[in-house]
Subunit: 367 residues, 2 copies
């Protein structure tokens, strides 16, 4: 791992003081902001996440806020997912596509009211696309990045910890729904969501000044639950098949290639900018698609570029995320594979930096 | 400094193998790509840059390419600088603003032909704004990010090194002009430009596969010129008053606040999206502006957030870049200061993490 030079451009978060005090060991940069990647070790963090409860600084999930009479119309222009039945209080995972159907982001849309939405973004300046579209189509909507910073509480004991701070009503929040809760006299949206498969919540912390008080309250309240600072875990998210925009897919890929065809209602989401292109894709089907891949041998080195997937001398895809899984005792990976070789059980070769290894296309992620 | 975890999302460049072999010690992330920040030490790199010649991997200056009949019209919509007299072969520094006059980027526009432009961007996904505007206004133009990676050759011996590789004709390139030169049978645009005040060139390397051959040719050819791998230098760029988007300014700031009013032809650049807002700003003048700031005392710590500038108990601005300058024997800095306190000679206090220090507003940068 290399060192990173400090600069204001790589923004701190409302929780950075807590993250540092908890002994963060490494970061990534995500939306021009610091995102922790490791506290004790990736393996120890993984074990703890699966057994206990962690508090994650995911302020990097910046919000794009849409406000005004055309907010709903604009939201539908951005995504091929049909939003007509979505109610305030719901969260939808929404692929965002350009006019060719290329993925620009894969965020979660949060519907606060008919005329007010948040888009909780992955790693690209989606704000600029949304502002450009709103301006170009002369929509009656305000688009900006408010001072909202998500804090995630993840792991099997997340309900218990959250109930102690926000009351038992948090237990009633259903998956991908949110409700409003008070903290220090302020109303905060809390959703049952998060970038792990261990269950938990995301708190949309409204105002930088609330960050550290909430962080400290969670840790003080959860001491006997063995609460720790954590972060999205490379092993756990690959096991669970949670994609990473910029790693597993880019704007070169359609949602169908990413296995997100079920979020594309191209027959009904007719307001979507990329609808025509995706209708074509839906008809013909993608020629390559995301697959779970098992890589043989000892733990793979860190992955910092796409590793080619070969069938003999022909390149038939690439691996873009990989990690050693202690629970499944193998290297778990995510790859994009051409249709000629994407059937489960197909044995390929992956060219890792330390040599070629056997790579097997799997039926399902490791859940 | 913290460690950064490797990932495909933090993209390598065509020159990364060379950068690593040259012993890079630290990076920043810029446009989701690795940008070296230090080789020997920031001070040693600084000395060498001012005395010799360096090759910089600035592939992070991604290009937004505009192609088609509406390319020129779109380019003018993006910036308040009047482009009507700009000729193919010229480069213009162009503030890019949204409809409120807020800075979205401060790139260099490269006019290849009437219907073909590159925008060589600073750190924001300007591609998304440009694509959104092109789509919303239904312009007849293709917008994408081509496989172009700038490589800079900077320092007093830059002309000599470049002439050896590309011939003496490179010496004739005027400041902020470019011409076409051959390398391995390929035509490359070479401009006299770069993010230092030591003189030099930027080579727009067209095709990843050309990256390492060109890198190696420059080093093999320049051995007796003491050529080294380098990078934009924090000290030198502050001395020279070269602003950094995301550090010294954000989308909260107008070009006028950034001291870029001379690039705003609000009377004539009537196609610009932010023109109306900037006309208002030009009339009334900004209430805060970028200033060179001298900070007293020992070398300041690294700056990773804005440091408040105080006049007694009133906050009157902030410092966003700072470094110890060996040549000027003081801490040089860039700050944004309110008009009540921006006159040269005004003595303020800056709140650095290790305590308050005397901060003096200067007349000019250190050139």
């Amino acid at each position: 791992m290399a060192l990173i030079s400090p600069s204001r451009r790589l923004r701190r978060t409302p929780f950075s003081d807590g993250v540092e005090a908890a002994g963060v060991k490494a970061y990534t940069i995500y939306n021009r902001m610091l995102l922790p990647t490791m506290f004790e070790s990736v393996e120890a963090d993984y074990r703890h996440l699966k057994d206990h409860v962690q508090v994650w600084d995911v302020a990097v999930e910046r919000q794009v806020e849409l406000r005004g009479p055309d907010a709903g119309r604009l939201m539908q222009m951005l995504t091929p997912r049909d939003l007509r039945r979505m109610l305030p209080g719901q969260c939808y995972y929404v692929p965002i596509v350009d006019e060719t159907g290329g993925m620009l982001n894969d965020p979660v849309a949060v519907k606060l009211a008919e005329d007010r939405w948040w888009i909780s973004i992955a790693d690209s300046d989606l704000l600029l696309w949304v502002k450009g579209i709103a301006n170009g189509y002369r929509l009656d909507v305000l688009v900006d990045e408010p001072d909202i910073s998500p804090l995630a509480v993840q792991g099997p004991k997340a309900d218990d910890l959250m109930a102690r701070v926000f009351g038992d009503r948090v237990r009633d929040i259903r998956f991908f729904r949110f409700d409003m809760f008070q903290f220090e006299g302020r109303d905060l949206a809390i959703a049952r969501s998060g970038y792990s498969k261990q269950g938990g919540f995301e708190i949309y912390v409204d105002g930088t000044e609330l960050g550290m008080p909430l962080w400290e309250r969670l840790f003080a309240t959860g001491e006997d639950l063995n609460v720790r600072a954590g972060c999205p875990n490379a092993i756990e998210r690959i096991e669970g098949g949670l994609l990473s925009y910029g790693n597993d897919m880019t704007d070169d890929n359609t949602p169908h290639e990413c296995g997100l065809g079920r979020f594309c209602d191209t027959q009904t989401a007719i307001g979507c900018i990329g609808r025509d292109a995706l209708l074509r894709v839906a008809k013909e089907g993608p020629v390559q698609q995301i697959r779970p891949i098992e890589i043989a041998g000892a733990p793979t080195p860190s992955i910092d570029r796409a590793w080619p997937l070969m069938a003999g001398k022909t390149r038939v895809g690439q691996v873009t995320s990989a990690a050693w899984s202690p629970d499944f005792n193998t290297n778990v990976a995510i790859g994009m594979v051409r249709m000629t070789h994407w059937d489960p059980g197909t044995v390929l070769e992956v060219i890792a930096p330390d040599g070629a290894r056997r790579a097997t296309v799997c039926e399902a992620f490791w859940l």
